[in-house]
């Protein structure tokens, strides 16, 4: 017994002292990736508004909040897992965990609690399909993309991009209790938008990704192959963007907007494909990246306006 007490005492004296949390409130907010959250909120809102049934405004607002928090929780879990490569990349080394402001365990607990809470509240407020889709989205982004695909394959952003495409479908499911062709189309638009959007950025940041050991397409297959695939996905995206109008889900306003935006997207993608050297190549990639954000925002904004304004559709 004396030996046990001695061993226990030794263990206590060598155990690491408890450390207080150093995180500010804004650091915990930063874990949620607010800029990504804003896009999620917007696309989910479009899904809610465009769904054919009506949902009480309080339940719609709570659904939107749950989807946003679920997306933020995925971001926190991503930052927990990727803290090592975030520390290496210039774009991400200022994040709370690599900067030492939040401990990894804090971020993990934060992400898990928010994930569970968001899914539970969404299930109680609306229906199990929406909650199940949200749970799957969080799992897909945190486990399938972050822990598996991101460090393993150059197609990480293609498959993992599905996580960012689910919010409008979740919003639609929250209202109607099922999914439909139109909600699937909204999913497909974001799904096919994701590769050219992220690969345009990757062309500009390939050194960063190479240093971190992330197999982004420019690092694995080279810039020229990346430009070719950007063009392929852009060619697929443009008609997909027009499909809601072609299939009769939207009015002529959306048709015109989607045709114009899609044409511009293609022009910029062709420019990326043709400009391969020096500053013109970087400018082309930068322009496509910037326009891709405007493209998605404008497309979904028109969808929102058509749903909200009477007679606009």
């Amino acid at each position: 017994m004396l030996t046990d007490m001695t061993l226990a005492s030794d263990h206590m004296s060598h155990a690491p002292a408890a450390q207080p949390s150093e995180g500010e409130v804004r650091d915990f907010v930063a874990l949620l990736k607010p800029r990504v959250m804003s896009l999620v909120i917007f696309t989910a809102l479009v899904g809610i508004v465009r769904a054919p049934d009506a949902l009480h405004p309080v339940l719609a607002a709570v659904s939107l909040l749950c989807i946003a928090i679920g997306a933020g929780a995925s971001g926190a879990l991503n930052m927990w897992w990727d803290a090592d490569i975030d520390a290496v990349m210039t774009r991400t080394r200022g994040r709370p965990i690599p900067a030492g402001r939040i401990a990894p365990g804090e971020a993990l607990a934060f992400g898990l609690v928010l994930s569970a809470g968001a899914v539970m509240v969404l299930g109680l407020a609306v229906n199990l399909l929406a909650a199940g889709l949200l749970a799957f989205t969080i799992f897909f982004y945190s486990v399938v993309y972050t822990m598996w695909l991101k460090r393993w394959t150059a197609q990480n952003i293609v498959i993992g991009g599905a996580a960012g495409a689910f919010p409008p479908m979740i919003g639609w499911a929250a209202v109607t209790g099922h999914i439909s062709l139109e909600s699937i189309l909204l999913f497909m638009i974001i799904f096919f938008w994701t590769p050219p959007h992220f690969w345009a950025l990757a062309l500009l940041k390939s050194d960063d990704y190479a240093r971190a050991g992330v197999p982004m397409l420019p690092v694995v297959a080279g810039a020229d192959e990346t430009r070719r695939q950007i063009l392929i996905y852009s060619v697929l995206l443009a008609p997909l963007g027009v499909a809601p109008w072609a299939l009769g889900f939207t009015g002529i306003g959306y048709g015109i907007a989607s045709l114009g935006l899609g044409a511009m997207f293609l022009i910029l993608a062709v420019r990326v494909w043709r400009q391969r050297q020096g500053e013109p190549a970087k400018t082309a990639a930068r322009q496509l990246f910037a326009f891709s954000i405007l493209y998605l925002f404008a497309l979904f904004a028109v969808l929102l306006v058509e749903a909200v304004l009477p007679g606009a559709a």
Partner: protein, 54 residues
């Protein structure tokens, strides 16, 4: 028998400030959750929830 803690945790003034701000944020979120749960309950069950037969 447990030995007294040899290294009690003492927070610096800045750490205390951060802890206070975090605590306030948690309190705000908790109050907001109470409000959300109340509103969702009223919407889903209707305003005459207390007039239902048992």
């Amino acid at each position: 028998m447990q030995e007294p803690d040899k290294n009690p945790l003492v927070l610096t003034p800045e750490q205390k400030r951060r802890q206070r701000r975090r605590n306030i944020a948690i309190a705000v979120v908790l109050f907001a959750l109470v409000g959300i749960f109340y509103a969702v309950t009223v919407v889903k069950m209707g305003p005459n929830v207390l007039n239902r037969p048992f």
